[in-house]
Amino acid sequence: MQTSLSIRAGLLSVLLLAIFLSLWQFSTMGTGPTTDMDPEYAKLMGLTATTGKSALPGPMDVGAALWNHLRDPFYDNGPNDKGLGIQLAYSVARVLLGYLLAVAVAIPLGFLIGMSPLVSRAVDPFIQVLKPISPLAWMPLALYTIKDSAISAIFVIFICAIWPMLINTAFGVAAVRKEWINVARTLEVGTFRRAFTIILPAAAPTILTGMRISIGIAWLVIVAAEMLVGGTGIGYFVWNEWNNLSITNVIIAILVIGVVGMLFDQVLGRLTRLVTFPE
């Protein structure tokens, strides 16, 4: 029964994809030459204008272009034109750097906040105000004060990724069951030992859930940051292709961004399952 369900789900997924692709193909088909054009003039015009081809590419165009990108993902034609693989590597490196910095700050800080109800209440208003700020709002400020676009991008990832982890860590630490703490106290366990052997394992699932939310946010932020700052990365790729009004490549970038984001999420999902415990 279990296997047949997953087979049926898989079939349904394929069917949905097929319906989507054929609708897409159908809606982007050209209507043939619309107006009579001087051939001399038509030579100077794009396909959209001469053949009534839709401005949106069909799935076949996207597939062909995607194949081209995947065949040679690591070419380097100078500072403004690098392969999709290199662009992704830049983005992933930036995200990981900003994210790890955020982890290094958020988890110890969250621990402190979670262990002290006083601090927790005191910093809560700041966190609530800072949490919902968009990465694009931070960008000009970062560029102006840090005066380096590469560090600014990492800073923006850091500042956007830190909040879910901080809140979740503090929450997880504060919500450790009182009985366990009391047992530790009865056994006269030291503060450090209590933090590492009781609170940390107990709060780990909540902390990792926070980290999982954060990596998703970090990946969202990088595209916006790179579109603004430019230079390298998948966000720059989107901007550069938009500049060329190449919707085909923009769609490919969307696809790639989605796949990489999913991979990040899967990795942290696995980690969460590792530390989850039955009660």
Binding site: M37, D38, E40, Y41, K43, L44, M45, G46, T48, A49, A55, N77, G78, P79, N80, D81, P140, L143, Y144, K147, D148, S149, M227, L228, V229, G230, G231, W239, N240, E241, W242, N243, N244, L245
Partner: protein, 457 residues
Amino acid sequence: MFDNPFDPKTTLSSAGCSCGRHRSEHEHASALQATEVTSGEEKIYQNVIASTVLRAMFPSDVSRRIFLKAVGSATAVAAVSQFFPLATATEAFAQTGPLEKTKLNVGFIPITCATPIITAAPMGFYEKQGLDVQVIKTAGWAVIRDKTLNKEYDAAHMLSPMPLAITMGLGSNPQPYAAPAIENINGQAITLALKHKDRRDPKDWKGFKLAVPFDYSMHNYLLRYYLAEHGIDPDTDVQIRAVPPPEMVANLRAENIDGFLGPDPMNQRAVYDGVGFIHILTKDIWEGHPCCAFAASKQFIGEMPNTYAALLRSIISATAYAHDPKNRKEIATAIAPANYLNQPETVLEQILTGTFADGLGKVVQQPNRIDFDPFPWQSFAVWIMTQMKRWGQIKGDVDYAAIASEVFLATDTAKLMAEVGMQAPKETTKTFVVMGKTFDPAEPQAYLDSFPIKKAS
């Protein structure tokens, strides 16, 4: 500057010109031009150095003359040489190398105005001057400004009003900036959405939403000028917004805007994609107007004079190369790839050769649709500032001539143009005609007062 400083009859002290060595900007330029042809470089530098030294020793011209009359010029040279090694100083000034820095980053915005800056890379003009320049594509004017102010870029492609705005501290902290070379002249257009093809008279444009690339751009000033000449007040009758060039065509397609005065390739791209038509080329508003500039901070120029001169020489050579219509097709091919403009080659070819589709079914021939001329006429700067004032971007009194000579380094450019074998103009200002109205750079305030439509201030 190249008069013999040991001649008691010459005047050295002055406040008039940009280098501080002449009575007036005019004399500065003509002295430079004259000696450029007549005497050897060595001699020129000798006199420049000697005048500087003498000027330092005798701040007052009167006392210098008395001194020279009393001892005679030969004795004066000998006396001065004792305190100051004139020969060594002359040598140091004349040397072109060594370059202080060879690896440079130059930012650009992917539009055809940047052609000289970009072309210099694939065509090897930077290499020829011993420079290793990375030309880096940048997302927008505000970003290119910030990255240049942050020194991530050593120099950059900017809109020609931007160095003026940065120097005056409009929209950023004031920082002395210079525009030692103009990139292109002409080469912009007003593009309208296809649905407006029967509303060609600007008087019918009330309520239009129009886009320009940046607040401090020739595009903004030209569009406002054009509208105002047709009796439309650009502040109240229409909406003008700043939209980055790549978003212009997308916005036109989405009918968010009715049209734009934008840089190419966006105008031709709108035609190519069948969303708009070219209403008027900016060359028909002001023939020979400047558009973009090559800009660098005064700090860079001061700290790395040799590198700066080499960089400017390569830009000027590339500009001369782009000026020649014979090279335009080759350039279109060189700058079309994703590393540079990332545009279909046919679009660039139509812009650069001036044989293009107008979007209404006609093939138009306008060979000087875009042209390239490095000379930064200081009167351009004065005109730009009159418009900044006209539309309320600057308030209060403006010392037009001083700022113009501070930012538009016409004499430097003239010297380097001569070095790479180009003919440079002898003057730094000229009058020109914008939509039938003559602009006299000597009378900016009168020009400003003559406009009926302007922002009340």
